[in-house]
Symmetry: C2
Subunit: 469 residues, 2 copies
C-alpha cells in the first residue's frame, strides 16, 4: 500500500485544501456541534476544596492528590532560571506523569483523507461541546488499570493490523502548568469500514481548519495533533503547489523551501547555544510552602493577579448514564494572547519564534511562539512589563492580521482558559532587531523542530490555525 | 562565505577521504603521538578511598563528593524498568550536571578541511596520550568559576567573530555510568591563522579515521564529535559519489539514500511506541544503601563481577609544572563489545539498532548499537544470558568483520575502560527475526536521529569508526 501512495504530506495537503465532504457541509458540522451542545450538557459548579470528595491535601506538602494516587497531582514548586523576566518564583503545577494518547483516525473517501471527529464534552470547555479527535486516553485507560470501559476506537491505535500509522510523535503539554507531561500524538489510516458511533463524524482537514476560524470550537488536543500533520514533502519528492495563501505566497513552498534566513545547522546551533547558556532548576516544595500565592477555601491564586488560579469543580452529566465527579482545575485570570509575527524573506514565509524557559518543560528551553502571554507572569491587559514585540502584535493594524480567533485550552484540566491566537504579518521583518533568544524560521524548519518534540504546545496550536488559503 | 561554499557534508566527506596533509603524514602523526606519550607521562596509582584528600563520603548517603561541591559526585541509585533483562537493580552513577564543551577547530588548507588535534593526557587513558579534540572544557572552565587558566583555543568557541559553526549539537554521555550528562559537540571553522601550540597538530578527517583503526589512539570525546560531522547532504543538493566502501557500496549513497527498510515516519513511530510502552524509574538511595555491591577500602564492585568498579587514583604529572591530584574513576571488569550488524537492503547499507533503557539516559529509551556489552549486567566472557545477536557478532567469520579495534572510554572518568568496537556485515539481514526493540536503519536515518540527540554515545562512537573506503 505504501509504495503506490502519494507522500503523506501531499495527502494531508489535499485534505486541508478541501471542504467538500459527502457526509456533511462545514455549515452542517457547525450546526451539529451546536445542536449536540444543547442536547448534552455537563453541569459544572465551582465548589470549595473541602468538598472535593476523593481529593485531599497530602500530609506534609499540602499538594492536591486523589485518594487512589492516580489521575494527577497539583504540586507546589519553586523554579529558578536566568532567562526571562523572573529569576525565581513559586507556583502550583500539574504532575501527571503518564503518557496519554491523542488519536485521530483517518480514512480516504473520494480520494481525500477524512478524519473521524467527535463532539466532545469536557468540564472546562467554554461552551460544553468541542470538536475533538476520536480518542483521548490515558495510560490507565488503555491498560485498563482502573475501572471503566475501554474508550471506543482505541483498538485502532493499539492493534495495528487494521490501520497504518501516518503520524506518531511524543509532544509536550503546557510547560507553564504541567510538569513534564507529554502525549502521544497519533494519526492512523484505515482502509476498511469504521462504525461511526453517535457523536462522531467524518470531516476533511479543510473543514477542521475552517472550524478553527470560529472561537472555541476545536479542542486543544485536536489542534496539537493537526499540527503534527506535516505538509512537508519527503526529500526528492515532486513538489506540489497549493493555491495562494493570505500571505500572498504559495504556502506549500514555505513548508518545503530549503531557503531560510538561518540554515538548518545554524538554527540547531542557536538552540544548542541557548540550552547551554541558560539554566532552569526546579524544586518540589509543596503547595503549603509556595510564596506569593494566597490559598482560601475556594482557590489558590497569585497575589498580583498573574499566572492562573487553582479551583475545584463538581461535574454532573445530564445524559442517560448519570456521571458525577469532582476535580481540581486550572482557571485563567484573563484572556491571553498567543501569536506569531510572520514575514516573507525571499518569498518564503518565516515566523518569529522565541526560545522560552518554562518550569515544566523537558529541557532548559523550548521553542515557542513570538508572543505567549498566557498562564504566566505577564498580564495581557495589566500595566507593567511585556515581552518583546508584544505591542507590535497587540496593536497590529487589522489588515495585517492574517488569523485571529479565541481558542480554549484542554477542558479536562483547564477551566475556560481562553487565549486569542493571532498571526500578524509584517513587512521586512528580518530588519527587526532580535534578542538572542528569538529567530525567524521557515514553516519547514518549524515543522522539523516540531517533529522532534522541541516546539511548545502553544506554538503547535497556533501552527494548526495557520490559514492556507 | 556561506553561499559560495559546497555543503558542509561534502566538505567533511572530502576531508574524510584524504590522508594527504602538508604538515605530516599519518605515519608521522602516529609517531608524534607515541613520542609525546614517552615524553610526557601521568603517574597514576590506585589508592584507598581514605587517601582521596579532597573527596569524601557525604553524610547520610555515602555518596562520593568533592569538598568544593564541584566537579562530579558518585551517587548510589536504584533503577527499575520493564525493558531488558533486569527489572530492578542498584548501581553507582556519576552525577555531573554541567554541560561541557567538546570542540574541534577546522581550517581549510589546499581546499581540504583540517582539524586541529591535540596529544592529550588523561589519567584513565590506557597508554597515557591520545589524539583528542582541541578543547574539552567544563562550564566551570569556561565561565572561570574556579581557579585555573582558561583552556587554550576556548575563545574560538565562545566568541564567534573569528569562527563559523559547522556542527553544534548537545549529545548524551554513557547512560550506564552518567546521570543525564550531556556535552556540547561543536565544530567551528576559522579562516584566519591559528597559532599551533606545542602538542597540537592539523590533521584531515581521513587521518583521524585512519588512527581509529589503531587501538586506543583516538579519544572518546573526539569520536563523538566526529560522529556529528554528518556526511548527509542537504535537501536538493547535488549528490556526490564516494569511492567504494568495504561494504561494496558507495557509502555516501547510504548516507543520503531516501530508500530505507522503514520509512522515516515509521522509524519515528517505532521509537515513539517504545517510549510509550516502557518505563524507567530512578531513585537516589545513596552509595551506602545500594544492594548487590561490595565496598571495601579500595573499590566498590558488583558481587557477581558485572557492571564496573569504582576506584580511587592519585595522579601526578611529570611535566615542568608539577600537577598533583586524586579522584575517583570508573574501572571496567573486562573488555566489552560494542557492535553493529550491517546489511545491504536494495544496495543501501543499513545497521541494526537497539532501543535500550539506560539508567542515566534522558528518555525512557535511547537508540544504541546492535550489541552493547559494556559497563552493564552482561559479561562478555562469562556464561549466562546475552543480548540478542551477541553470538552472531562474537563468532562472526573474520571475512565478514568490516571494522574491529579496541577503543577506550573517556580517560577523565574511566580508568582504562576498553571495549572492542566491531562492525559485522551479514547477508540478507532483513530476514533476521527481530525483537520489537530492534530495527534496521540507514546511515542517513541514524545520522538524523543522532542530530537530535537520540543516539547513545556507544553507537555514535562506533559510527565514527565506520570505514568509508
Amino acid at each position: 500500500m505504501t509504495e503506490t501512495m502519494p507522500p503523506t504530506g501531499l495527502r494531508f495537503l489535499k485534505s486541508a485544501l478541501t471542504e467538500d465532504n459527502a457526509f456533511q457541509t462545514t455549515e452542517e458540522a457547525v450546526a451539529w456541534l451546536h445542536a449536540t451542545g444543547k442536547e448534552r450538557k455537563l453541569l459544572v459548579n465551582q465548589i470549595p476544596f473541602s468538598e472535593l470528595g476523593e481529593w485531599s491535601s497530602a500530609e506534609g506538602s499540602g499538594d492536591l492528590v486523589h485518594k487512589s494516587g492516580k489521575f494527577f497531582r497539583i504540586e507546589g514548586i519553586r523554579a529558578s532560571t536566568d532567562l526571562g523576566p523572573l529569576p525565581e518564583w513559586d507556583q502550583p503545577i500539574i504532575n501527571q506523569p503518564e503518557i496519554g494518547i491523542l488519536g485521530i483516525i483517518a480514512r480516504e473517501f473520494d480520494g481525500v483523507l477524512h478524519l473521524l471527529m467527535k463532539a466532545n464534552m469536557e468540564p472546562g470547555n467554554p461552551f460544553g461541546v468541542q470538536l475533538a479527535n476520536a480518542v483521548q486516553a490515558t495510560r490507565s485507560n488503555y491498560t485498563q488499570v482502573h475501572q471503566g470501559a475501554r474508550p471506543p476506537y482505541l483498538e485502532y491505535f493499539l492493534e495495528r493490523n487494521h490501520s497504518r500509522v501516518l503520524v506518531d510523535q511524543l509532544q509536550w503539554e503546557q510547560g507553564s502548568a504541567f510538569l513534564r507531561k507529554r502525549n502521544r500524538n497519533i494519526v492512523v489510516e484505515v482502509t476498511e469500514d469504521v462504525p461511526v458511533l453517535d457523536g462522531f463524524r467524518w470531516m476533511t482537514l479543510g473543514q477542521v481548519k475552517k472550524l478553527l476560524t470560529y472561537p472555541n470550537l476545536v479542542s486543544m488536543d485536536t489542534r496539537t495533533v493537526i499540527a503534527c500533520m506535516s505538509l512537508c514533502q519527503p526529500r526528492g519528492a515532486d513538489q506540489a503547489s497549493a493555491s495562494l495563501s493570505p500571505f500572498g505566497v504559495d504556502i506549500l513552498a514555505s513548508f518545503n523551501s530549503t531557503h531560510a534566513m538561518l540554515s538548518d545547522d545554524h538554527l540547531g546551533s542557536w538552540l544548542t547555544d541557548l540550552k547551554c547558556r541558560h539554566q532552569l532548576t526546579l524544586q518540589h516544595i509543596g503547595l503549603d510552602r509556595i510564596t506569593g500565592w494566597d490559598r482560601d477555601g475556594h482557590q489558590i491564586s497569585e497575589q498580583n493577579g498573574r499566572f492562573f488560579r487553582v479551583i475545584a469543580v463538581d461535574v454532573q452529566s445530564d445524559s442517560r448514564e448519570v456521571v458525577h465527579w469532582s476535580q481540581p482545575l486550572i482557571a485563567s485570570v484573563e484572556e491571553g494572547l498567543i501569536a506569531f509575527l510572520a514575514t516573507k524573506i525571499d518569498d518564503v514565509l518565516h515566523v518569529l519564534v522565541q526560545a522560552r524557559v518554562e518550569p515544566g518543560s523537558a529541557d532548559t528551553v523550548t521553542v515557542g511562539p513570538t508572543i505567549q502571554c498566557a498562564l504566566g507572569y505577564h498580564s495581557r491587559s495589566g500595566g507593567g512589563e511585556h515581552a518583546p514585540f508584544f505591542d507590535l502584535v497587540q496593536d497590529a493594524a487589522p489588515e495585517t492580521i492574517r488569523y485571529s480567533a479565541v481558542q480554549s485550552e484542554e477542558g479536562g484540566r483547564f477551566y475556560r482558559v481562553e487565549n486569542e491566537y493571532r498571526v500578524v504579518e509584517i513587512e521586512n521583518g528580518y530588519e527587526l532587531s532580535l534578542p538572542p533568544n528569538y529567530t525567524w524560521v521557515t514553516l519547514h524548519q518549524l515543522q522539523e523542530l516540531l517533529r522532534y518534540g522541541l516546539v511548545s504546545v502553544e506554538a503547535r496550536s497556533l501552527l494548526s490555525c495557520l490559514p492556507l488559503t
